[in-house]
């Protein structure tokens, strides 16, 4: 092992520079960092979001998707029915919106609801995790012969390139569930990372620049030989362009956007000292450099057993992260240019089962949407306090997708060709009128 360190001298000058920068940020944050959380700052931020400011701003450019995988219970999150039989003893709290309540585990989100909207009447028709997640991520029900692109792939495909050097579709903590390019091609698959506390995988060369340059020039010798007589075929494989693009990413300053340690300690603490909290903070940093879609996953909501306790634990992670993300985006006047969606693949049964759990419930569940010029401070749809399947003002998952695209200025009627040359619309939903009406 000693030899390995000898061969790959860590770039001391880089790390030194970074630590100075960190120190500077840390020091300045002591002075300024705390100020942004004050009521005054919040008031100023709200002022900046007035309709006039909203109209004059740049068009929305990015999406942050917070996936609550496993299927969160609407009753313990965004659609409580306190005091009813279906609440199963769960409490609810008042929010900044008069008459609107959320689950008791979301006190900080409750304070931010004036910049968000809750849709309580989603109907998904898919009760299996994988199928429902496919629907949530693509807006289409699974189809064995068409592999639909996820929201992030469509954003990366449709929205302008800008000056972004790093991957424009990023998935944090999603494991095998990361957004896929579908028929748009694997080139639109999300770039996957884990907890932002760890280094970004695969972007740092294990060897010195000198050795890397040597490898690259040797590779050219091999590639020249192989391409002769196969030029077109090799071009179709794109293996040469990916070398260039990968190297551009490896040397990009924008990689620093993944590094949440560069944020003030107070802010990091506000997001929560959890992988999901750091993921949300990284998401904000990434869209600042022009990443089109960042998805962050919080798993563990599949509470067939012991629903209330498990939800309480997860909400302790979700509440600070989501609330701080909204406040942070607001404070930086970025919320109007960013659509934030927080949802799971389905909800959970109103009936509490014999093991104190709740089972899958795709008939009526909730999503939170904010930013991107969407109307805010409202609740859409209403579920039955008795736990019936019927809801007032129901919307499909596809409608939610159509709303996101509409706010980003992506034409939902536009058709892309599937692999079987079938034209497929960006979304087959209809934008939710309450969210987009001016």
């Amino acid at each position: 092992m000693s030899q390995l360190t000898k061969w790959s001298p860590p770039m001391e000058h880089c790390s030194a520079a970074r630590s100075t920068r960190r120190a500077w940020l840390r020091d300045t944050s002591l002075v300024c960092g705390a100020a942004w959380l004050t009521p005054l700052a919040s008031a100023l931020a709200r002022e900046a979001e007035s309709p006039a400011a909203k109209r004059s701003g740049d068009p929305p450019q990015s999406v942050i998707l917070l996936w609550l995988i496993g299927g969160p219970s609407q009753l313990e999150t965004f659609d409580p029915h306190p005091g009813t039989r279906i609440a199963g003893g769960s409490r609810a709290i008042e929010t900044i919106l008069p008459g609107v309540k959320v689950g008791a585990g979301l006190p900080r989100v409750a304070e931010q609801l004036d910049c968000a909207a809750i849709v309580r009447s989603l109907n998904g028709k898919e009760g299996d995790h994988n199928r429902a997640l496919y629907l949530a991520k693509t807006g289409y029900r699974p189809d064995p012969v068409t592999f639909h692109p996820s929201v992030g792939a469509i954003c990366a495909h449709q929205l302008p390139l800008g000056n972004t050097e790093i991957p424009r579709h990023v998935s944090i903590l999603s494991g095998q569930n990361a957004g896929r390019g579908g028929f748009l091609g694997a080139g639109y698959d999300a770039f996957k990372i884990g907890d932002p506390a760890n280094p970004v995988p695969d972007v740092e060369s294990a060897v010195s620049n000198k050795r890397l340059a040597r490898r690259m020039s040797d590779l050219e010798v091999l590639e020249r030989g192989f391409s002769a007589g196969r030029a077109q075929a090799v071009e179709d494989l794109a293996t040469h362009t990916t070398v260039e693009q990968a190297r551009a990413i490896m040397s990009s300053e924008q990689l620093a956007a993944f590094d949440v340690e560069q944020e003030p300690a107070e802010l990091r603490a506000a997001y929560g000292d959890t992988p999901f909290g750091r993921g949300c903070l990284a998401a904000r940093r990434l869209i600042e450099v022009g990443v089109r879609c960042v998805e962050v996953t919080l798993s563990g909501w599949d509470t067939h057993i012991n629903n209330h306790e498990l939800h309480a634990n997860l909400l302790e992670v979700l509440d600070p992260a989501l609330a701080t993300l909204l406040a942070d985006l607001r404070q930086r006047a970025m919320l109007e240019r960013t659509v934030v969606v927080c949802m799971g693949e389905f909800g959970r049964t109103p009936k509490v089962n014999a093991l104190d759990g709740r089972d899958h419930w795709p008939h009526a569940y909730s999503a939170l949407m904010a930013g991107g010029g969407l109307n805010r401070g409202l609740v859409i749809g209403e579920t039955d306090p008795e736990g019936g399947r019927e809801v007032a003002n129901p919307y499909r998952v596809a409608d939610l997708h159509a709303t996101v695209y509409e706010s980003l200025g992506i034409d939902i009627a536009l058709e892309n060709l599937s692999r079987a040359q079938r034209p497929i619309k960006i979304s087959e939903g209809t934008p939710i009128p309450e969210l987009i009406a001016s």
């Binding site: 012969v145 294990a206 075929a233």
Partner: protein, 549 residues
């Protein structure tokens, strides 16, 4: 206390055995060693070389006529080593080891293809690899319903069938008519994947869609909900076919057939209508009796049903060439003459008892499989090098799938063959490494045979990722090829040659050898290891390594 001592010494002995196994044998492979797989399946029916040559000759005729008619230039044949690499990658999902290359070199050039096919077709790696590919076509990659569906059990059973070269019609009949529990009759997993939760019923339309794609090579999915103006299949066709699965039931004795009628709400009126069984074509092949599933299986595997052999020929061709005869692999027009190669191979497959080994040998023996992927384009030739591939006069260059890249990196980083002879700890480690790599590289699941270009995260993974870094590292004397070559090879030229052979299954060209010898001569002896490590990473990143060619 003595038990703990015994355990301790036992572990020490296992450890010593494990190290010895890795260090001692075959650092210089024995050229006289027999080419024999680690876990051969001996109870295969012997092949008839004359039958294979006859079929190959006819296939070559069809190919040559089409080339002449189109006035196409035909690429040169590739040498035996490149052919062995193609076969290993497409049948066993990995590259030949140096050990295997040395054994192959000891065989006369004109016998190499046959010897290599004999070797690969009885190797358990091949059965396992093909079983996973076919399983993706049959049941996809989903985890499926809890308890009642066991994908791994299903794949292992399939591999067992492939390993003994079970006639494909027999295998499929057994799967489609399987009764009983999903554990002791693994074929039933084909159906239990679509067992609906909390009811005893099955999702018949879903089973029907999968059945049509996997065994008929037709996509009826659109006909499920409506009549499409241009599609060959009507909604009626779909539901009549679905009716064959309408009596499936799942009880405490597992899967079996009930006797209820199959009803569907065809016009979405809320009224269930009775739907009779019926097949969309080749009605004459339908037997008069038997359970519904038995009737369907008999119809499917009847010689009059051309769709069945075509579906498997197109899939095997896709696996061996990286591209199917008719695209997409599971949507083949039903009329004759769309693709003469497909029609011929399908008929030949039926005439030779639906044996996959025969089909594979015929395809491998054909000129199309043996031509180079490179062609010198002249000015009077039309089109570019890629367009020549349409008639298979040039071998198509297609990207390797993630599991092939992972296995190839693991194999190429070792001089010995990585197979079932490996120590259990190595096998476990290998599973972890490759699974992790495949996840990051991006697995396309059941749609894995669709064309795809390389992505940036894939390149980053190859340049900087864990697997490549670990497998190229010269510190790891215990396993890595780079380390052994650095330590054991006598001079720079042989270091470079062995590295090329191990990773690309070929010697370096003169230009390449000169370039790397110059590179190696720049540094003193103690730093050669570093260069060898660089050479391995570079070779792993080369397009030649990353594609089938």
């Amino acid at each position: 206390m003595w038990k703990r001592d015994l355990l301790f010494w036992g572990l020490v002995l296992i450890g010593i055995g494990f190290l010895g196994q890795e260090f001692l044998p075959s650092s210089a492979p024995d050229a006289n060693a027999q080419l024999r797989p680690a876990r051969p399946e001996s109870n295969q029916k012997p092949v008839d070389p004359a039958a294979v040559s006859q079929s190959v000759a006819r296939l070559d005729e069809i190919l040559e006529v089409s080339w002449q008619d189109a006035g196409l230039a035909v690429a040169q044949p590739v040498d035996g080593m490149r052919l062995a690499r193609r076969l290993s990658l497409t049948l066993a999902g990995t590259v030949p080891s140096l050990e295997e290359i040395r054994q192959l070199e000891a065989i006369e050039e004109d016998r190499r293809l046959e010897a290599w096919l004999d070797y690969l077709l009885v190797d358990r790696r091949t059965a396992d690899y093909l079983a996973e590919r076919f399983a993706r076509a049959y049941v996809g990659t989903e985890a499926g319903p809890f308890l009642v569906y066991r994908r791994r059990r299903f794949v292992t059973w399939l591999a067992d069938q492939f390993a003994v070269d079970r006639p494909y019609d027999e295998l499929v009949r057994e799967m489609l008519t399987a009764d009983g529990l999903w554990t002791d009759t693994p074929g039933t997993n084909f159906f239990t994947l679509d067992l609906l939760p909390k009811e005893t019923g099955f999702d018949e339309p879903e089973v029907t869609s999968r059945f049509a794609r996997a065994f008929l090579g037709i996509r009826m999915d659109c006909a499920r909900c409506h009549d499409h103006p241009f599609a060959e299949w009507s909604q009626q066709d779909f539901h009549h076919l679905a009716a064959y699965f309408g009596q499936l039931q799942h009880t405490f004795i597992g899967l079996n057939d009930g006797d209820e009628d199959y009803t569907v709400d065809l016009h979405q009126t809320g009224d269930e209508e009775l739907v009779e069984t019926g097949v969309p074509f080749a009605e004459e092949a339908l037997p008069g009796n038997g359970t519904r599933r038995a009737q369907l299986a008999a119809w499917l595997t009847d010689e009059a049903n051309v769709a069945f052999p075509r579906s498997v020929v197109n899939r095997i061709w896709a696996l061996m060439f990286g591209r199917p005869l008719v695209e997409p692999v599971d949507d083949i027009p039903i009329e004759e003459g769309v693709e003469p190669l497909l029609d011929y191979l399908a008929a030949d497959f039926v005439a030779h008892d639906y044996r996959l080994s025969h089909l594979i040998r015929v395809i491998a023996g054909s000129r199309a499989y043996q031509v180079d992927s490179r062609i010198e384009t002249t000015e009077d030739a039309e089109g570019d090098d890629a367009s020549f591939g349409d008639l298979w006069s040039v071998f198509p260059v297609t990207r390797l799938r993630p599991e092939q890249v992972a296995s190839a990196v693991v194999q190429a980083s070792s001089l010995r063959t990585r197979d079932y002879q490996d120590h259990i700890l190595f096998r476990i480690a290998r599973t972890f490494e490759t699974t992790n790599f495949v996840q990051r590289y991006g697995d396309a699941g059941e749609l894995e045979l669709e064309p795809e270009a390389q992505t940036i995260p894939q390149r980053l993974l190859l340049l900087n990722g864990q697997l490549v870094k670990q497998k190229a590292a010269v510190e790891n004397m215990a396993v890595n090829a780079s380390a052994r070559i650095a330590a054991l090879a006598p001079d720079d030229a042989s270091r470079i040659e062995i590295a090329f052979l191990t990773v690309l299954t070929r010697e370096p060209s003169e230009g390449e050898l000169a370039h790397f010898i110059a590179r190696f001569s720049e540094v003193e002896e103690s730093r050669k290891g570093e260069l060898l490590e660089d050479l391995f990473v570079t070779l792993f990143n080369s397009t030649e390594f990353l594609c089938l060619n």
